[in-house]
Symmetry: C2
Subunit: 214 residues, 2 copies
């Protein structure tokens, strides 16, 4: 069975989104700054249909995050905005456009039942209403020997870690401080992880932690 890998950018003061999120700023004040490093990379830009971008360790990291992924788990807020776009008569298509960058089944945690949403390029969004355990189970079955990527948001990663379901946590420690917002690792019993890889760039520090032995 493939590993379950959680992957998220975190500020130097421990936040995965800034304070006061709105429809215009769904990542909160300053939260976009957590993702500037990846948006600048050739790896991310190619996957999202843009030209240009930087090469080097950050781009390699963006490539690697998708390289062996057989299924994705994400929260409702990462699929689409929580305001605007009804779930009922006119289902919301989400943030990701017609050809999302995943190319694998994506399991979206939500309280709203909905039929699967098939996009081009191999991405189908499945809406899971019976909790994180079920989402992980379905994702593992779909991924087979490939990895399951828990892509965020922070609360979904938190739930997966709390459930003991994450094999590795790939943090991108961004040298910004947001002063508030959504915390990662806020409600876990005291414990420790094992850093197994450290890669730095002038923009961000990538640290991979092993959470449980394989």
């Amino acid at each position: 069975m493939g590993k379950v890998i959680a992957d998220i950018s975190v500020s130097l003061d421990g936040f995965v989104a800034g304070p006061d999120p709105t429809q215009e700023e769904p990542l909160g004040k300053g939260g976009e700054g957590l993702h500037e490093w990846i948006v600048a990379t050739k790896g991310w830009r190619e996957a999202h249909g843009y030209e240009g971008g930087t090469t080097g360790p950050d781009s390699d990291m963006a490539d690697r995050a998708r390289a062996n992924v057989g299924a994705v788990v994400m929260g409702r807020g990462m699929f689409g905005p929580s305001e605007g776009g009804a779930w009922g008569d006119e289902p919301w298509e989400g943030w990701w456009g017609d050809d999302p960058p995943f190319h694998v089944p994506v399991y979206v945690l939500t309280h709203h039942e909905r039929e699967p949403l098939e996009k081009v390029g191999g991405t189908t969004f499945h809406f899971v209403t019976d909790g994180i355990g079920s989402a992980l189970e379905q994702a593992r079955a779909a991924a087979g020997d490939a990895e399951v990527l828990v892509a965020g948001g922070g609360n979904v990663i938190q739930q997966c870690i709390s459930a003991g379901a994450v094999d590795e946590l790939q943090l991108h420690i961004v040298p910004v401080f947001l002063g508030g917002g959504a915390r990662l690792l806020y409600d876990l019993p005291a414990g420790s992880f094992e850093p197994i890889e450290v890669i730095g760039s002038p923009a961000v520090t990538h640290v991979r932690y092993r959470l449980k032995s394989a």
Copy 2:
């Protein structure tokens, strides 16, 4: 003039000490775990008069933290416990024994006036009651072209960063999560630092940030 370098260990969830500090556990619950990496090194052990210890990047880091230091600034809690040992008739000698590992002047921020305390090996503790600006000024004058090390605790480093006085921040990101305690970087305006060096070991990730251009 030498650089001002702040150096501190921080948990993965952003704490520089654990919750509920007591006289027995001055670093709070789990807080000792932040320093296990350095106590295990040959560099730290030699400086503190112990034998043995590990070599490698963590020990190099422990050595380097002292290599070019001409003066140290620290908070009252790092000099000695805040309970037990009076400041009056029977001045408290602090945590550091007869031969402290600093071998340079140490400026201790406190509200209690007191004569300098001279130890063997070149360490003299000076007690500064007129604030962080004064402590830094005295330390810079004593250090000359050597570095000023701001050694902690977190609130002293915070004050120095807020005052714009820190050139570089050397963080040791320890893969423990404490769930509460004393935060680093809790009351700064949003902003960013520039990572200039990343060194990893199986125990801890050392990231050096530039806070202002030299």
